[in-house]
Amino acid sequence: MPRLSYRRALTRALADEMTRDESVFLLGEDIRVAAANVTSGLLKRFGPERVVDTPLSEQAFTSFATGAALAGLRPVIEFQIPSLLFLVFEQIVNHAHKFPLMTGGQCAVPVTYLVPGSGSRTGWAGQHSDHPYSLFAHVGVTTVVPATPADAYGLLVSAIRCDDPVVVFAPAGAMDLRADVADPAPVPLGRGVVRRAGTDVTVVAVGHLVHDALAVAGDLAGQVSVEVFDPRTLYPFDWDGLVESVSRTGRLVVVDDSNRSCGIAGEIIATVVERVRLLAPPRRVTRPDGAVLPFAPALDRAVQPGRDQLTAAIQLTVKDG
């Protein structure tokens, strides 16, 4: 079976969609030389008209993509740094996202915002290490965080085909993964997946943390039977899939690389307790409130959700009832 890296899964998704649909084109900084090692080979294959290097004008090129989408194209923008999304939050939220409703359905804005290397890359410090997916779920922009190479391919393909704006966060912590993928296929937006079946507690893990959750579940095997649920899409969230899991296990722990206040973990817990009577209070493992990732590697790690914290949260939740 062919080994597919997460990075090449993204490359292949872009190439396949550009081949399939003439209206798909790429826009971003240093994408012709593939500085982020995602758009590699695409300039040669598709030419400069469809692989467009931009000046450092994130606000303008993000709205430029909105306009191109209004005129019938399907732009994909690559952002090299996750915190650039703060700079273009206005362009995505206040324009791209709002146009269909504000115009009474006169238009669609099918733009994909791809962030390869979201979250900490260790050593990139305060302004290059954010993981702002919860912000986009909050405002109601379709938000996906693929954990595996197969999902990186399948969710990016579905994002490009979606008629609405979609933000694709490819976590730095997952970018170097490889997996056996026989036949990459589209993955539907809004559908989660149980990565490991269990009976005592459901752990919801976002993005690269899925792999930490699986490791912890393996370590705890014999003591606690952990089910790992990977939502894959944070907005729209697969509530029915998660409720089905938690209804069986009766316990919930969420591990989420967001700052604690108003992070997606809070929403996951709130929605589950609205629908399921739990056996024990739910717990979450997140970045701290208001976190800014400090530079030194030990400090950077100290601020991110870790396996020890997750293990402790699972054990406490099981002990509680």
């Binding site: 709205s63 209004l70 379709t142």
Partner: protein, 322 residues
């Protein structure tokens, strides 16, 4: 492109009377939230749009009724939109500041100052890429020339030679802030910095605006890059109708009187025989009477569908109730 002085007069007169009727409807409580009247600036929208083709694209501003009407939107559906009716251009979802009519090339009024330039640049680029020889015109005020987003759009359009006419409606004030208190350098100088030709015109003269636009459009359609037109104008009324209730003291009465003395409707009207003018006026009154009747007779949208059109993909949002 029309050289027809009667049609140009009809457009400025239509916008003038539309705004006056809309203000009446604000006072009557039929238009909630108020409007940013375009009174006094009619010559710019009329002149620019007279030099465009039906398939060319425009974007407007929060003070955008004139742009939408001049590009050819139906005044009745426009007024219905202002009144929040389901028959409105945006089905009652946009209102005064977001009126859009993609069918006549209006990609929306945009309520964020300086935001629309980049959107229009992308739309024109996309259409040109598929072989349409269209151009675009994006309207903005003097306040927008200090928005980084607009200056970034100048750069992109110039760099990629996207034929967008950047139309600055310099009415002297960003809300209450005078140009002298806000703009370092000049507006034309900003265009020059990006290698864009800039033309200064008298925005109160619809024909001068039209001729300057036509010359720019001819160059742009033939493969030239973007250009800027700075149209000097004067806002006859309030920044927003809230000023009809709360009077703000920022324009000296003598200045207002001087500004109002140069009226684009009168200037264009003086070019026509009295009988022609009277006939146009009567036709505009009849059109607007029918528009008001249509708007007020139209149903309000059903609250059950408040979030219809939120997602083009058909996604439905969770409701907010318990």
């Amino acid at each position: 492109m029309t050289h027809d002085p009667v049609r140009l007069y009809r457009t400025v007169r239509l916008i003038r009377r539309f705004e006056e009727r809309a203000i009446e409807l604000v006072r009557a409580g039929e238009i909630v939230g108020g409007i940013h009247p375009y009174l006094g600036q009619e010559g710019i929208a009329a002149g620019v749009c007279a030099a465009l083709r039906d398939d060319d694209l425009v974007t407007g501003t929060h003070r955008g009724h004139g742009h939408v009407l001049a590009k050819g939107a139906d005044p009745a559906r426009m007024l219905a939109e202002l009144c929040g009716r389901v028959t409105g251009l945006n089905r009652g979802r946009g209102g005064s500041m977001h009126a859009a009519d993609f069918g006549v090339g209006v990609l929306g009024a945009n309520a964020i100052v300086g935001a629309a330039g980049a959107i229009l640049t992308g739309a024109v680029w996309a259409r040109r890429r598929r072989g349409d020889d269209i151009v675009g015109a994006t309207f903005f005020g003097d306040g927008a020339v200090n928005e980084g987003m607009l200056l970034e759009a100048f750069n992109l359009a110039a760099l990629w030679r996207v034929p967008v006419l950047f139309v600055c409606e310099n009415n002297g004030y960003a809300t209450t802030m005078p140009v002298a208190g806000a703009v370092a350098g000049t507006i034309g100088g900003r265009a020059a910095a990006f290698g864009m030709p800039a033309t200064v015109v008298d925005g109160q003269d619809p024909e001068e605006v039209r001729d300057a636009t036509a010359a720019a459009v001819t160059r742009m359609r033939a493969g030239g890059g973007p250009e800027l037109v700075e149209a000097h104008t004067y806002r006859f009324d309030a920044h927003h109708t809230f000023e009809h209730v709360v009077r703000l003291d920022y324009r000296p009465p003598a200045e207002v009187a001087r500004g109002r003395a140069r009226d684009p409707v009168a200037i264009q009207g003086a070019r026509l025989p009295r009988s022609v003018r009277d006939a146009v006026d009567a036709e505009v009154e009849a059109t607007l009477a029918a528009a008001v009747e249509y708007a007020l007779a139209s149903p309000a949208p059903d609250p059950a569908g408040a979030l219809e059109h939120l997602y083009a993909s058909g996604l439905t949002a969770r409701t907010g109730g318990g």
